[in-house]
Every structure is written in C-alpha cells, then in structure tokens.
Symmetry: C2
Subunit: 273 residues, 2 copies
Amino acid sequence: MLTPDRISLNTATVKEQWTLAQCIEGCARHGLGGISPWRDKLQEMGVTNAAKAIRDTGIRVSGLCRGGWYTGDGALTNAVLDDNRRAVDEAAGIGAECLVMVVGGLLPGSRDIGAARAMVEEGLAHTLDYARTAGINVAIEPLHPMTAADRAVVNTLRQALDICDRLGPGIGVAVDVYHVWWDPEVKAQIRRAGKDRLMAFHICDWLVPTTDLLNDRGMMGDGVIDIPGLRAEAESAGFDGLNEVEIFSTGNWWQRDPDEVLSTIVERGRIAC
Amino acid sequence: MLTPDRISLNTATVKEQWTLAQCIEGCARHGLGGISPWRDKLQEMGVTNAAKAIRDTGIRVSGLCRGGWYTGDGALTNAVLDDNRRAVDEAAGIGAECLVMVVGGLLPGSRDIGAARAMVEEGLAHTLDYARTAGINVAIEPLHPMTAADRAVVNTLRQALDICDRLGPGIGVAVDVYHVWWDPEVKAQIRRAGKDRLMAFHICDWLVPTTDLLNDRGMMGDGVIDIPGLRAEAESAGFDGLNEVEIFSTGNWWQRDPDEVLSTIVERGRIAC
C-alpha cells in the first residue's frame, strides 16, 4: 500500500497530454510526493522556471530522465559527453535526487555488444567524474533485455552493480520493476545494491499479452509483476525514496484524460503496490 | 561458415507452408544435415512414418520440440506429466538427440514467479526420471525474458544450469542465440555448460526493430546477433551437434516459398554464421 505522498510521477506517463508545468500542478493537485521530468519537457519549460514551480509546490524531484546514450555516435564524442554534463547540470538545477542513465544500445552497424558495453562504462566514468563535482547521484537503469540492441546494453542489476563496483561512490542503480521483474536474481541483487546504491525505484506493470516492446506498459495492478514483493525487498535493503510511476502506453494511458491517469495512479498505489 | 550438412531445420521455420513429410524431403533436397520437428507436425504424420522417412533420407534429428509447459494447469497434473512422457516416447521413436523443454510461464492468475519456477523444476525432475529410462536427453531451453510471463520462467543459461546442477545427469540446455545473445554472462555460461550439457544450438537473428515479441525473428545475417562468436564459444566448449534454424516469422519467412526459405538458410549459413 502506497499513499500518494510516496509516489512520484515520471512525466513520460502523461507525455502526450501535459507540459511540465501542467505535470507539476497535477502532482500537487493529486497529492503526489514528487515528480521526475524528462529532459525534453524540462528544456521546453526552462530549468529556472521548472525549479521555481517545483519548489513552490513543495514536491520532491525523484530523478531526471535521462542521461546516457553513450553509443549513439559510434564513439564517445564530445557531443555525447557534453550532453551528459548538461544533464548533470539540469539535474542539479532542479534538485533531482539522481540522474537516470539509459546507456544506449549497440554501436551503429555493429554486432559487438562487448564493445558497446565497454564504451558505456567509459562514458559513465566521465559523467560520474563531473557529477561528483556537482553532487549529483548517477543511477544506471538496467533495461529489459528486449531493448539491448537499440536502447541499453546494460540489462541486469548484476551487470549494473558490477559497473558500480568498478566505478566507486556516487553511482548506483534505478530499479524499474518492468525491466527486472523476470530476473531470477532480482531480489538478491537488490539486497546487494543496498541503501546507498538504490537511487530510484520505478513502477508500472507487465501486461499479458504485451503488444509492443517499448510502449505497451501497464498500470500497476493490470499485469503480472509482484510489485509489493519487489518494493518490500528494496525497502528492506534501505531504500526510502519515492515510487516513480513511469508508463509508456501509446494505446491506453497516453490516450486518456491526464487527471484520470493520476487518479488511477493514486488508487492503484493503495490497492496494487 | 556453416556448410549445409551442419545445419538442421526446425520445422517451425516453415510451419505455415510444409507438412513434416515435406520438411523431411526439403531437408534432403537442400542437403541439410538434420531436422527438428515440432510435435504437432510429428503427431500429424505419425511417429512410425516420420521415423521411416527420416531414416530413409539419412538426416539426423537434432531435437524434438517441445516438452515442458509444466505450469499451464496451475499444478503438476497427471495430464501435464503424461504429456511429457509421451514427448519422451516420441523423441525416442524418431531418434531425437534431445527433447527440448519450453517450461511454461506463470501459473494462471498468479504473480508468483518463484512458485512457477519451483513447479517447473519439480516437473523437470519427473520427466528426467522417465527420460533416463528411455535414453533421451532433456534440454532446457532458457527463453528470452520477454516470454517470462506467458511461455517460460527459465530465462537465463545460469538459471537453467543451476537446475541441471541440482537434477544431475541426462539434463542440459538448448542454447538459442535469439534468447541469450543479450546476456552479459552468455559466453561464461556456455563454457560452464560444457560438452555434456550443450544439447542443442539454435540460430536465427534479432531484428531491429522487432515488431512482435513472439513471431518477428530474423534470418541469420538480417539482425544484430554475433552468431559466429556464440557458435565459436559453444564449439570451443565441445559442442559438435547441428545448428538448428528456428525462425518464427509471421510477416516474412512464413509468407515465402519454403524452398526459397531453405535456399536462403543454406546461403546464410555460408556467409553469416
């Protein structure tokens, strides 16, 4: 059971309907405890304006989505590294509790997933150096293996935590139940992460059937993920942050009145989380 | 580089076009080294007829697809266990080198993936007992995590090999590159499996984008899997069986002339494997 003050709205959940200003107002109106903007919406509103609006409502910023995408240019270009530094600055500007990293997929035209993974780790090290100076936590989000080719070559918590072990303090993981629920090791790896490295906890649900690899996520309670079980494991490992609702849903939630979406989130927090 | 004699046709690849009898003839005509029937096609032709036709062509039977599905009834019913014994008998009847197990997804109406996994392991133990008496190898096929809810709760080679460790001799894994290519541990787990437990090796390719979770697999060379690299790892671990081509493809290969499909398989074996 999650009360609204323990829930954060990831703006992707209503990205087709609301601007960031509307999201911030909506969170306040529905009593949510926090928000996690995507960068396109943040840049559209402007960091200063957004920071002020968020401060005025008193809600927390559970994260900024997203840095990463290190492999997109086929090399760690200045453009990629600069963009990640800007992401750190934006996270700092709005007081985000972490910068969530979607690391990028295979290099263009390549089948060498090992090369992509090496490039990602090197890129993360660069971003982490800068993030430490800004006091921003870097949270690697392991993405579901079905996204390995085109979105993220970090696909399990074990793999992400191995990277964290090598890179040292200031870097941890964003646990999204959608991406990790299937993993036989998920609970053991959540325990391994521990309080310091559990930087974000994202919720939604896995629908049966799932009709799209990217944009057919379900509202909590509509699918098969044991959300209370995973949440309990994270809390028992020391996580005390917000539960961030991130639902990509072309065919359903992106079509609805966003106030209905937020009401549903609040209701499902009470009965399905 | 794979010569045709090292390739086996999984009948799912042309399931919309050919009966098993036509598949057997087609394999012989294209010089393939083996076949792996699905049970529905085998039952349609009859085990005795199929065994004779296969023997007459001199091709090998790299596997029988599939046993398993232990969770479908929500309990290990006699119906499920009997069906798996029949699968063992059918595998023996056609001289299959292994019985491939797709273990089943979550229990109907349940979110308890741990319970499903426990039931699967108990079911495998039963089938293995019987398979040992028939001299049939049982090959667990870890399926891609995107199938965990509705097809298979065994999703990594590590998990499958842990089960094999507990159940003892006669059980191993079917490595399908489509299901495991993304795994940071895939090569280490192939080495761990070793010759005795590498019972089947399935090939096809991961398309970008992938438009369906089940039936949008690609022909070797059309996607991003490093097939030669994974195959080399398996061979270096001692695998010397056939490379079984299993492509589910509603929109493409199931629409084509099956002789064109087999010619393409032979060609891609030479240039993309």
